[in-house]
């Protein structure tokens, strides 16, 4: 498992330096803000989107799943980090990794960025399939970029992605159990013209 992870990592990371514009693109999309802010803006737009009140409510529930899912995903990643400290690729193979990024100090597994991106995408997918599928593209892109720039192993982002998806499903379950509270909050926000 570890050896497959290493092989796949170096297969991707060895592409660094081949085409400089690709390196710069990966540095841009692999950083902590670019893709995640872009995805969060789509989620923000979803809150106001809908041809009628029913359609909008479905989208707003999807936003709930995504936001609560991101919260759950971050909590699960923090718990994993407390129990399992996997070294970053540049620490595990010093001198062999082409690093295009700063040296994060937290554990490599699981990828927090991948967990957040997939929690956003799958949370929205639960309420709006079309936008959910659309958000999967940046989620995959940022996950690939994190390996490319040398800060994660492929299994770190795979673990992060699975955590993100599970967290959104957990959010759906929890919000359904908590009914009618989420509906009351939505109705309250509607009364002050925020939903």
């Amino acid at each position: 498992m570890q050896s497959a992870d290493k092989t796949l990592f170096f297969w991707i990371n060895d592409l660094v330096g081949e085409v400089s514009i690709v390196d710069r693109f990966m540095r841009l999309i692999g950083n902590d803000y670019f893709i995640l802010v872009g995805m969060a803006l789509v989620v923000f737009a979803m809150w106001f989107t809908g041809r009628d009140p029913e359609h909008r409510e479905r989208n707003q529930r999807a936003v709930w799943y995504a936001l609560v899912g991101v919260g759950f995903a971050c909590a699960i990643v923090a718990i994993c980090n407390a129990f399992y400290d996997r070294l970053r690729p540049f620490d595990m193979y010093p001198g062999d990794v082409e690093l295009l990024f700063y040296r994060p100090t937290d554990p490599s597994f699981p990828s927090n960025t991948a967990a957040t991106a997939f929690a956003f995408a799958s949370g929205i997918w639960l309420g709006n399939r079309r936008v959910g599928y659309f958000l999967l593209l940046p989620a995959f892109l940022v996950s690939f970029a994190r390996v490319f720039i040398g800060v994660h192993f492929p299994f770190d982002v795979l673990g992060g992605a699975l955590i993100g998806i599970a967290a959104s499903l957990g959010a759906l379950l929890v919000l359904r159990i908590l009914e009618p509270f989420p509906t009351w909050i939505l109705n309250g926000m509607r009364r002050i013209y925020l939903a």
């Binding site: 803006l41 989107t49 990024f101 013209y193 925020l194 939903a195």
Partner: protein, 135 residues
């Protein structure tokens, strides 16, 4: 550290203002739109989002240690709320003449974002409190 926090807050706020103008144009929410014509709304959205991204990612290298995960999340929520307050206030001032259509508005209609198709945010809130006072 304070520098990146302020820059990130402004970056998200400007982007969210752009997103709000986009959804206002797309879903005919005239009450939160700055413009009469939807084309200007779309144009504003493209300029605000494109401009904010270009500004944020060119003024400094963002591949350096910055804001922590939970802080990023909290800042995003705060700046998106700030953008809604700015948009609602500005559009309410710009579109105060929308008051004319308030009279045509069905008072029995359910509250919610759909009300902002016919009146500004401040008008909607004022109407809500008037109704409460009467009821």
């Amino acid at each position: 550290m304070a520098g990146i926090t302020v820059e990130y807050f402004l970056f998200v706020m400007i982007c969210c203002c752009g997103v709000l103008q986009f959804v206002a144009a797309r879903w005919k929410l005239s009450g939160i739109s700055f413009f009469k014509r939807t084309t200007f709304g779309y144009l504003f959205a493209v300029l605000a989002i494109g401009g904010a991204f270009s500004w944020f990612f060119t003024i400094e290298d963002r591949c350096v240690p910055g804001i922590e995960g939970a802080e990023v999340f909290a800042l995003f929520i705060a700046s998106s709320l700030a953008s809604f307050i700015v948009t609602a206030s500005l559009s309410s001032v710009i579109k105060r003449k929308l008051r004319l259509s308030v009279k045509q508005h069905n008072p029995e209609e359910e509250p919610g974002l759909d009300s902002l198709r016919q009146m500004t945010y401040f008008q909607a809130v004022a109407r809500h409190f008037k109704k409460k006072g009467r009821g």
